[in-house]
Symmetry: C2
Subunit: 259 residues, 2 copies
DNA sequence: ACCGATTCCCTTACACCGTACAAGGAGCTT
DNA sequence: AAGCTCCTTGTACGGTGTAAGGGAATCGGT
């Protein structure tokens, strides 16, 4: 299968674990521990570990259960569905982001904070390539995602962008990072699976493409753009592109700012 | 299930239908028609129709086969795998985009062309919500995707952006549109599935969120941003955000341009 | 007109998925 | 000791993608 783009059966139509999910207090019985040592947090963290290790495609309730020495159905005592579990995992890793507090230090430059935050978000998406399909699919209203979007909101307010442009600014910046991180993470995952470095994989792809005459213009264009950039490795080029894109966004914000 | 983010079994590790796929010439036998009227083009167009109608989640080889009055395995004569088929479908709809020819009319303003192209791309992603997971997952080197990226490349070259910034500019613009269109398309799909208009759904979600005290700041922030914008419907707000984001990107490009 | 090769489609079967359902066992309260 | 609640498990259903092989129709060459 290709893309983790969908999960919907015909059930009631939930919006989010955070709204309709069963109480998180499952587990924690009065007297002592659970027979199996299971626990919502242990489950989500095992989920994250598995997703990191083997990807969204290979993740299954049965596989996770095996990892926890338990049957698949036991998990359903703590979680309503696989989707809910994934939503929990998504919020869990969102908590890895270190958020600046834009209002704490009035002298801090929003430019620096924006650069840090976008780099952090990008790194997050790359570190957990399974994340971006989920971000695209859920409402992202878990505590950590909420914290992030509040932070982003405060940050953008400090740019001086007029209020009616702020939402557009947020979209421009963070949808960009989302798209960029998605592609980058996916590419890196592909390389890892093929057992190649990024540069090897890139060379391999170029070779394969080179075999097709009709793709020649693409090759030319690609070569051209590669030469225009300073770096030599794929990583260098990507870093260059990312920072120059963010730089461009910052320039755009400044240009649309009331002074 | 949630996201169509993945399909990888343990097979040889293909890169793309366009590189290793079986010859497209399957079908078209010399003397007359196929016994079942099957044909690679008929299959892909049926795939697109089904994906549009029921989404990536519900799409399956068996379902498609039923639509074509054929068994599932028959399809595998024309296509190596479900993934290959999806890649074909992806390129098929990419062909719906009308591309400007930036070099044809030297007087045309690149700003207008960029606005048109981004709107077209956005509309494409919204019209086919199943597309974006696929775009994230494949190499997108089918003829139509290639045509698009060549066009984008020529377009960006006309902005006056210095060469080493062009890749970043492309990324900033098109990853943004990708992210934006992904979210928008997904949201609209959700609404349609729930049988609600976007505004009803939005109101419903706000109501549900309002039930949780810890989410109050989000509500406030959301209200605030809603009020800052002119439009009243969700659609209006989104259009406003999109155009203002593109406007911001254009401003950024201009600011980083050599004159 | 015959024959082997090619092309096309179908049947069967496998391993896997998410999860509904109901029965069971352990521990606490009474 | 009985009963209750919490937790775990076994079994089963209806789906998935697709490997393997069978059989029919049609082709090219004779």
């Amino acid at each position: 299968m290709a893309a983790a783009a969908d999960r919907d059966t015909k059930r009631p139509a939930r919006m989010s674990v955070w709204l309709d999910g069963k109480a998180a207090s499952r587990g924690r019985r009065a007297g002592g521990d659970q027979p199996s040592g299971l626990d919502r947090e242990r489950i989500t963290s095992a989920t994250v570990r598995l997703l990191d290790a083997e990807g969204l495609a290979k993740f299954s309730m049965r596989r996770l259960a095996a990892e926890l020495d338990v049957t698949a159905m036991s998990l359903y005592w703590y979680v309503d569905s696989k989707d809910d579990l994934l939503e929990l995992a998504s919020d869990a890793v969102a908590g890895e982001l270190v958020l600046p507090d834009p209002d704490a230090d009035p002298d801090a430059d929003w430019r620096d904070q924006l650069r840090d935050l976008t780099q952090g978000y990008r790194a997050l998406l790359v570190r957990h390539p399974w994340l971006s399909p989920l971000v695209g699919h859920f409402l992202n209203i878990g505590p950590n995602w909420v914290a992030l979007s509040l932070c982003v909101q405060r940050l953008i307010r400090r740019t001086g962008l007029p209020p009616e442009r702020q939402a557009g600014g947020i979209a421009a910046v963070f949808q960009f990072v989302y798209g960029f991180g998605t592609i980058e993470g996916h590419f890196r995952k592909r390389c890892a699976e093929a057992g190649l470095t990024q540069d090897e994989y890139f060379a391999h792809a170029m070779g394969a493409v080179g075999g097709r005459a009709e793709l020649a213009p693409v090759m030319d264009a690609a070569r051209e753009m590669v030469e225009a950039r300073s770096g030599e490795t794929v990583d260098d080029m990507r870093d260059h592109d990312f920072t120059s894109a963010v730089d461009l966004l910052i320039a755009g914000i400044e240009a649309r700012t009331v002074r």
